[in-house]
């Protein structure tokens, strides 16, 4: 009995294998694309309704011109993206790798898809901000898609800032999701425990060294887009961490 030598049939090209992972993620587009978009739009509609409610309640009294300028509603989509990433990694990893994809192809496909999602959603939000500006804040000087300090940014910068922010949230979600796939609930608990220690430790260090002023200066001296660019190393580190965790993860079932 002899083992046959190397397989005669080559594997499908890397691009095709990565495409397979992306198609599996999108076989049911609701969780990754439609739901986040609908929810963002729904939160916007609710805000729009509240603005009108406030206006009606105000009656003849003049409103502060900035009344509807500070709104955190759009940040909702950012945090939702973390959940989306955790969920989709948990659900598709076991399915895709369970049916015979390699972990590497799964990771590459997922990462590419998430990058595309970040760019897509970032651009979409910037376009909505463009409509918001063109319509004088939806007719009532409301600012949902580009509130506060984002109001003065050119649209392309807005798209870059949002895309990078969403990419960061997806990458953090991927890292947490990979921890879950690899070490189940304990992995996620450990992930967020470490994250909390890092954040609180950072806050403590800044306070202990009386550096808050320097930190404030650091951010106020820089353009929003430059600050957004600073997220790239964190995003890449999170993605790299997700890959390391997935390397030895086993599909459930």
């Amino acid at each position: 009995m002899t083992a046959i030598s190397a397989p005669a049939i080559p594997a499908p090209a890397l691009a095709a294998r990565i495409g397979t992972t992306i198609r599996i993620h999108l076989a049911n587009p609701w969780s990754l694309v439609i739901t986040p978009a609908l929810i963002t739009f729904g939160v916007f509609l609710l805000n729009f309704a509240i603005w009108h409610a406030v206006r009606i309640a105000a009656g003849d009294r003049p409103l502060d011109p900035n009344a509807f300028n500070y709104n955190g509603g759009v940040s909702w989509v950012l945090f939702f993206m973390t959940v989306v990433a955790v969920q989709s990694m948990n659900q598709t990893f076991s399915f895709t790798v369970g049916l015979g994809a390699t972990r590497r192809d799964y990771f590459l496909g997922t990462t590419l898809l998430f990058a595309g999602l970040a760019l897509g959603f970032g651009t979409w939000i910037a376009l909505m901000a463009g409509i918001e500006r063109a319509t004088n804040g939806w007719g009532i000087n409301g600012h949902f898609f580009a509130p506060g300090f984002l109001g003065s940014l050119p649209l392309w910068e807005l798209a870059v800032v949002y895309s990078l922010a969403i990419a960061l949230m997806l990458a953090i979600g991927s890292a947490a999701g990979a921890m879950f796939v690899r070490w189940a609930a304990n992995g996620v608990i450990a992930f967020f425990a470490v994250l909390a220690v890092v954040v609180v430790g950072g806050v403590f260090a800044i306070s202990a060294t009386h550096s808050w002023e320097a930190v404030a200066r650091f951010f106020s001296e820089r353009d929003v887009i430059d600050i957004a660019l600073l997220s790239i190393p964190i995003t890449l580190a999170s993605a790299g961490f997700a890959f390391i965790a997935l390397r030895r993860a086993t599909p459930k079932g």
């Binding site: 049939i9 890397l14 076989a27 015979g100 390699t102």
Partner: protein
């Protein structure tokens, strides 16, 4: 002869649990191999290791001579379907088939559609809402329509009714004869599946205790019926798997009888009957009853 699967000293421990202990066997191209054993014997662990889904603690698996771990060339020729396959929450049957079509290079969509009809898989239903049998049927459709050169099925028909199981055996054999490939099948329903198998690997408590050609295995054990005294006389010094008796009559399952032994038994007035594969596996994996009679 060429081995598609070679398992050498394969060991998997989870903490203190030895799920698989130094397993050694090979499966040749074109074989339908049954992996049999009791619950928790290590069948699923073995199949997960064979498809690079789990990591060996020691030893190695070779598919076509290569390590399957993270090996896209090997895995793209392999299809592994298990009873406990996890499906994404929102997935309906049709989403699963769409995904399978992308994953398997040899996917036959027309054949899949026929199987879906035969097995009555509700493609528009969410997989989560399907009955156990429907989920199993979906798995069977994937395994058959993948046309993968190496197809592994772990407990493929949990929850399938008798009609669907019969259909599974028929379709599997029909497709196997048209598109020969290597099939590894783990199951509890040994007698039902035994007509499919040409190799049998039996695992008990993490150890491979039988690795044999199915036909030769069927001939190895014999059941003898006769007077208790004659049975005892014949059994002395032979390998007895099981005994039972009522009054002065008894029956005995013995292994390793030569033709001369069988002739002797007949001379003693004992009746010989073949032992089914299932009975043999039950006897062999039910350690306490098997003993060497003195």
């Amino acid at each position: 002869m060429t081995a598609v699967i070679e398992v050498s000293d394969l060991t998997r421990t989870y903490g203190k649990v030895h799920a698989l202990e130094a397993a050694n066997f090979a499966i040749e191209e074109g074989t339908i191999c049954g992996v049999l054993g009791r619950n928790g014997a290590g069948k699923s662990t073995l199949m997960r290791l064979m498809t690079g889904q789990d990591f060996p603690s020691d030893g190695a698996v070779r598919l076509w001579g290569e390590n399957p771990l993270e090996n896209a060339a090997i895995l793209s020729r392999t299809c592994f379907v298990r009873e406990s396959q996890v499906y994404p929450d929102g997935f309906r049957g049709k989403h699963v088939l769409r995904a399978a079509a992308h994953l398997f290079t040899g996917w036959d969509a027309a054949y899949a559609a026929r199987l879906v009809e035969d097995f009555r898989v509700p493609l528009d239903r969410r997989v989560k809402k399907m009955s156990r049998g429907q989920r199993s049927a979906l798995g069977v459709v994937i395994a058959l329509a993948s046309r993968a050169e190496l197809t592994l099925l772990d407990e493929p028909y949990a929850g399938l009714d008798a009609v669907a199981r019969e259909m599974f055996y028929d379709r599997l054999l029909a497709d196997y004869s048209e598109n020969p490939r290597t099939i590894v099948l783990s199951t509890h329903l040994i007698d039902e599946a035994s007509r499919l198998l040409n190799q049998v690997v039996v695992i008990d408590a993490g150890a491979v205790i039988i690795d044999a050609d199915a036909d030769s295995l069927r001939g190895t054990a014999v059941s003898l019926v006769g007077r208790r005294a004659d049975l005892d006389k014949f059994a002395a010094g032979r390998w007895v798997l099981a005994t039972s008796s009522v009054g002065g009559l008894g029956s005995m399952t013995l292994e390793g009888l030569s033709d001369a032994d069988k002739a002797l038994a007949v001379e003693l007035g004992l009746e010989l009957a073949p032992v089914s594969l299932q009975e043999l596996v039950v006897r062999r994996t039910n350690g306490s009853n098997a003993s060497k009679e003195n």
